[in-house]
Symmetry: C2
Subunit: 198 residues, 2 copies
């Protein structure tokens, strides 16, 4: 076993499956951990244990939190704005929260429509959105500016047609083809402020 025993080898292989880490950087990360056993490796192990035990998906909005309903869904001030922002992924929700977009609520679709990948409406959390939508004054469609994201936005607009609910999308501050999670917070904030009616 070249890399110091099966326990170390297995840790390297699992870390290598994280986005942004390959086999080489996973080896470096494991050595980094081993050299900082007390300050980093043991705390990381404990933090993972706690997160495994605590984390759940909000049954209302699809956010990841330690309670369901999540802290955003449970906060009454979040409902006052009447704004529900629809995102593809929890990462996008986190990005909008970091941008400080205000007292809004979210709905996480868990993906986008993609016929080529066999992802249809039943594979996304769309029914929950259609159910929740009437409680809000405005639905902001904040999908990525990709073909699939915009196809999904059109699909939702069609589903909500005739309900009289105001539907908007993020302003075109979002670069075409860009993904929300990679944008700086100022751009995201501006894009929300300049949102336009569909």
């Amino acid at each position: 076993m070249p890399n110091g025993g099966p326990e170390i080898e297995q840790l390297i292989q699992l870390l290598a499956r994280l986005p942004g880490l390959g086999p080489r950087s996973a080896r470096r990360a494991v050595l980094h951990l081993i050299k900082r056993k007390e300050q980093l490796m043991i705390p990381l192990s404990a933090a993972l244990d706690r997160a495994v035990a605590a984390v759940r998906t909000c049954e209302v909005c699809g956010n990841v939190d330690t309670a369901s309903p999540c802290s955003i869904c449970a906060d009454p001030r979040r409902g006052e704005s009447g704004i529900l922002i629809v995102v593809e992924d929890v990462a996008d929700l986190w990005a909008l929260e970091r941008a400080g977009v205000g007292n809004v609520r979210y709905h996480v679709l868990g993906g986008v429509l993609s016929p080529l990948d066999g992802i249809g409406p039943d594979d996304l959390h769309l029914d929950g959105l259609i159910e929740r939508a009437p409680a809000y004054g405005e639905i902001v469609l904040a999908m990525n500016a990709t073909v699939e994201g915009q196809t999904t936005a059109h699909y939702i607009t069609d589903r909500l047609a005739g309900t009289g609910i105001k539907i908007t999308r993020l302003a075109h501050g979002v670069p075409v083809g860009g993904e929300l999670d990679y944008l700086d917070e100022g751009t995201l904030s501006q894009a929300l402020k300049a949102r336009t009616a569909l």
Copy 2:
């Protein structure tokens, strides 16, 4: 708490301290883990627990393993070659093992001499090397081709002067300024084969 509760936030902050991961990629890694709780997050948590319990530093050579003496020091065939390769770091030992350099043993210095950083001979595992050296027919100095690495190699050569032990260095297949851990395995293997006497 924007990112889903203190347990998640703490996990992000600890992962962000790994080399190659920053705050953004740590957030992505944590979402990746949460989405793959059964397949990845729980196995990673268990692997970390096992590694924390099992990992130790070999008191003979400085390698990281689950036993001390490590599997390399404990393997009698490793001693038959009579070759002891001196490296700066465990990552370099792993790189040489991946290159399949043969039945050799190692000595991990744990760094290099660097007067500017206040690192002197007493901060490295040098005494252990001087003690072990007479048991070997050849000492290969495989420090990085940096100023500090070569300074350290000269220091060791001086310390072993008069012992009659053959001292060699890796061939100049190692690019000047380069670090062993970044080299491909063929280059490393060639550099060892063409090692030259000092």
